[in-house]
Subunit: 86 residues, 2 copies
């Protein structure tokens, strides 16, 4: 039961970045997205992935591979943001 | 060493939401923030907190209390967003 709660928690926090990514792809709007947030977050997720690989903990590995991909694409859109956009 | 990587990873992903929250408080702009992302994320973090409490795993408890507070405030700002804002 406790493990199930952990898996549902991991699934929700992992898939939550997908609607954010879709919104950014559709609107190209990243104005209210924080650049420092996504820099810190992507580095943190990369470390979570290393941590998971070192412990061969598959739920951590899989969740963080997915989040690393979505968060990295969001960060790339933010970095390439048009500074003149409204 | 592996545990240290885990703590640094947890610290980075936890504090990453603070610059996002500060930016929203200062600008009141949440237009490019995804509402479904923060709904899924806050529910997921609440489950992570329950998971940590059931296992009495303090790093998980502390990290997710902080993230639950910051992410909930961001979600509140998003829900109260002025639909006429640019």
């Amino acid at each position: 039961m406790i493990t199930l709660i952990g898996y549902v928690a991991a699934a929700l926090t992992t898939i939550s970045f997908i609607p954010q990514l879709i919104q950014i792809i559709n609107t190209k709007d990243t104005k209210s997205i924080s650049l420092p947030m996504y820099i810190l977050f992507v580095i943190g997720i990369a470390l979570w992935l290393i941590y998971g690989l070192l412990r061969m903990d598959w739920p951590i590995i899989i969740a963080n591979i997915i989040t690393l991909i979505t968060a990295s694409i969001i960060l790339t859109y933010k970095i390439k943001e048009d500074p003149n956009s409204k």
